[in-house]
Amino acid sequence: MKRVVVALIPYLWLLGLFLVPFAIVLKISLSDVAMARPPYLPQFSWNEGIGAFLSQLDFENFTFLTTDDLYWKAYLSSLKIAATSTLLTLLIGYPIAYAMARTPEQWRATLMMLVILPFWTSFLIRVYSWMGILSQEGYLNQLLLGLGVISEPLILLNTKIAVYIGIVYTYIPFMILPIYAALHRLDNSLIEAAEDLGCSRAKAFWLVTVPLSRNGIVAGCFLVFIPTLGEFVIPSLLGGSGTLMIGKVLWEEFFNNRDWPVASAVAVVLVLILIIPIVLFQQNQQKQQEAES
């Protein structure tokens, strides 16, 4: 009995923190915008009954999303930014994780600590400090000007480059940690065996190390890709006007147009898009578990 209760708890979390809010958002996405408080109709009332309430819902807001190219362009641009950032994070994160796994045992805990350390400061403050670093009069420009590398300050803040820097910086621990976990378990004698059998170091890395850290790579990529797709804070603080992302479009529907139903429809579609990588991630995790047991 006790076991059933313990097993139920995560499902209750899922129900309370994901399914119920999602059902509410879905309901709003099927309503119509109105001058009211809150600004949509119909609002559920027990007097009218559930049947009458449901009959007033329709898919109008979803068809509306197809009439304007803004929405698919924003989804596409978000996907592109998320994919590029994931790749960049992987390219930078992998060598870090590799170096960490190769350092002598006694240093690893300290290195791990350094990767996690930024989480002790608020995420928002860290993004703000990037504004201080990247601005035209910021530390980076002052340093480069002082060293004589550049003669004119670089415009970095409010560009796409700043967005990528912000995203890579913020999410890189999520890439390093799973890859490190995979590499750290790697049996060194496998590489020695590969080298004994005539592999060069680089070849042994490609043929042995990379495939064996595959699960870590996949987990890291999903952990970076999924939150980046809906990212709103980093592009709005570091990005310029040209950075089109779905999080921003959602904000505008909600705040500027006061159109909660369309905003909810945008959010529902975003969840549907995210379900694909989440399901893939889940399958990968399962496979990994099966392989281990």
Partner: protein, 361 residues
């Protein structure tokens, strides 16, 4: 177990009930008050003041539309106030509790009555204009000494903007401010609600948008003051605050503000009490405190915005009352226009146009 939870819930309800009576929660614009006034309020009234800030009407409006914001006093601008009154977001003020109402300035009250007939729901906090903040030296370097710094030519002529892009231009991220200015620039009615007329500003805005570094409604204060940008299309008092911060920093940055010669938008920020305010009594106390002539003057002296309080003018420093950028002279006043809220359909057109302008799609 159930009893415990219920007990805790009761305690919690009791706790919120107790705090509500001696707490006032105010939600005002960022950089919009002398913080000494907040301490003074707590001292004088014995009420605990919780003071939060926002930087866009949209954020406030969403809280008002959702309800249950928990705030006792909020400060929407006129056009937003009008719409929020219509959906029943505010309660009528109790004139008997506002003993300082004799201080108010009828000239401003007459104008704010366009949004709030009879001023039944709101009291003016500050008012101002929307215009051009210029880093004099940098702009002269880029455009020459005769740069049109008091005309919308500065920001709406693509050739000017192409050159200004090298030193940085910020626009307010507020279509309801920028579109009327663009309409005024092309000689249309700035308060037009006709989608076809509004569409006429699109080519103009699209031509200058590549040269706008950022559309944002509060960052330009620091950016101007630090010399990160050289032009901002923003709110009068914010730009004047940037001017003062730059002067204090003494790093050679000189900022000026001009209401554009083509006409400028005049706006009003109104203090109002949400219909579900936990402490309406305390809200009235706060309103009455701000309506005191000396307190209101202290706020204006600090933030460089004009207020709707005639009696406060005796206490304003010359830098404020004599500055025509803050208290415009009769000729400029003549040149100011006001706008009214867009209906929902038109709002969507306006937002969509704005998204196109900001993102290029």
């Amino acid at each position: 177990m159930k009893g415990k939870i219920l007990g805790a819930a009761c305690l919690f309800a009791l706790a919120t009930a107790v705090t509500a009576a001696d707490e006032v929660r105010v939600y005002n614009w960022s950089d919009y008050i002398d913080e000494e006034l907040l301490a003074k309020f707590e001292e004088e009234t014995g009420l605990k003041l919780i003071y939060d800030v926002f930087d866009s009407n949209e954020v406030l409006e969403t809280k008002m539309l959702a309800g249950g914001s928990g705030y006792d006093v909020v400060v929407p601008s006129g056009t937003f106030l009008q719409r929020q009154i219509a959906v029943g977001a505010f309660q009528k003020l109790d004139p008997t509790k506002l003993t300082n109402s004799a201080n108010l300035w009828d000239v401003i009250e007459k104008r704010t009555a366009r949004y709030d007939p009879g001023n039944e729901y709101s009291v003016n906090y500050m008012w101002g204009t929307t215009g051009l903040g210029v880093n004099v030296k940098r702009v002269a370097e880029v455009l020459g000494e005769d740069a049109p710094i008091n005309s919308l030519d500065l920001i709406f002529k693509p050739e000017n903007m192409a050159r200004l892009a090298s030193c940085g231009v910020h626009f307010l991220d507020a279509p309801a401010e920028v579109i009327p200015a663009a309409l005024a620039y092309i000689g249309e009615d700035p308060d037009s609600h006709d989608p076809e007329v509004i569409a006429k500003v699109e080519p103009l805005l699209m031509a200058v948008r590549p040269h706008v570094q950022k559309f944002h409604s509060s960052e330009y204060i620091n950016a101007l003051a630090n010399g990160d940008i050289c032009v901002a299309f923003g709110w009068s008092g914010d730009i004047l605050q940037a001017r003062d911060r730059a002067a204090e920093a003494d790093a050679g940055v000189e900022i000026v503000y001009h209401a554009p010669s083509e006409g400028a938008l005049m706006w009003f920020d109104q203090m109002a009490i949400p219909v579900d305010a936990p402490n309406p009594e305390g809200a009235h106390t706060f309103l009455n405190f701000i309506m005191d002539a000396e307190n209101m003057a202290q706020a204006s002296n600090y933030v460089f915005y004009a207020n709707g309080n005639l009696a406060s003018q005796a206490f304003l420093v010359p830098d404020v009352i004599d500055d025509t950028a803050i208290y415009p002279d009769a000729a400029t006043l003549e040149n100011l226009y006001i706008t009214t809220p867009y209906p929902a359909k038109v709002q969507r057109t306006v937002t969509r146009l704005w998204t196109r302008v900001k993102s290029g799609t």
